[in-house]
């Protein structure tokens, strides 16, 4: 416990809160929310938790080995958010700021838990050629040999109703290389904009797009496999 309190304090130091963060500054509504938080309006903080808790847990799971540890890191993040709130200067969006605190904490924790991930160079390390669709499905001319079928019945609304399909997708997300998983989680599951993702993960726009492309391509293939099997 002592250890945990100490790390929370560390994370709340201004240096760890990302004084150097660039990118999109906080919007008017962001600043209004910060003003409410500074005025200690409980509903403002409660809404913030409701909005970001789930996405934060998902992101933490990229870096740490278990749900229990992820939950702990997220709780520490909320405490660090409270401790740093009055120093938030609006140089980034509030969301980016919170996700950055989480990322820093989760990475540190991941290292401590011996889960070494090649995040230092978040660059694409999966080899230069990882095709979006396996080569075997194309003819030599580059035209489809085994073309995809239109998913008439498999709409997102219908897939959502099938627990098995959702689980299949969750497993596929968890199986992605960490850098691809982090990007697709933030972009497509948590709904961050690309510049926010670049800021949170400290990667370039191009790198972000390549990782997103690879992740989405694999997840499509995985969903296709599920839909075709049914």
């Amino acid at each position: 416990m002592t250890d945990r309190v100490k790390t929370v304090e560390d994370a709340a130091k201004p240096s760890a809160i990302g004084a150097t963060m660039r990118g999109v500054p906080a919007s008017e509504s962001d600043l209004a929310l910060v003003a409410q938080l500074r005025a200690r309006v409980p509903k403002a903080f409660s809404d913030l938790i409701d909005r970001y808790h789930g996405p934060l847990v998902r992101l933490a799971l990229v870096f740490v080995p278990s749900r229990a540890v992820a939950e702990e890191v997220v709780q520490e993040t909320w405490v660090a958010v409270l401790d740093g709130l009055d120093r938030f200067e609006g140089r980034s969006t509030l969301k980016t700021w919170i996700f950055r605190i989480l990322t820093n904490r989760a990475k540190t924790r991941g290292i401590r838990e011996n889960r070494t991930i090649p995040f230092s160079a978040f660059a694409d390390q999966d080899g230069d050629h990882e095709p979006a669709v396996e080569n075997a499905r194309f003819q030599a001319s580059g035209m489809w040999g085994v073309p995809p079928r239109r998913w008439e019945d498999a709409t997102p609304e219908k897939l959502l109703m099938i627990q098995e399909a959702m689980q299949h997708l969750e497993v596929a997300v968890a199986a992605l290389p960490p850098n691809q998983r982090a990007v697709v989680t933030l972009r497509d599951i948590d709904g961050l904009e690309s510049d926010e993702v670049c800021n949170v993960l400290e990667i370039s726009e191009t790198n972000q797009r390549v990782l997103l492309h690879r992740a989405r391509s694999k997840l499509r293939a995985s969903l296709e496999e599920y839909v075709e099997r049914k």
């Binding site: 200690r40 903080f45 998902r58 409270l82 979006a132 580059g142 897939l159």
Partner: protein, 80 residues
Amino acid sequence: MLTCQQLTELVTEYLEGRMSLWRRAQFQMHLGMCKHCRAYLHQMRTTIRTLGSLPQEQMSADIKAELLKRFRSMAPPERK
């Protein structure tokens, strides 16, 4: 002229709106003529939308209550 295989590698660039005008025109021209690639793009969009609807966990009530208690007990910042 783009091949189908090339198109599958450009889908994210297309959806992200990061293509040059010329490239975009080529991409859309191919789509107009190729129902398989239209199906592919449709699958990709379905995948993205489904990902966006995956359930998100909520914080347990007792931990939330504890954090809110801490929040309430914090002194408001000093006005500069």
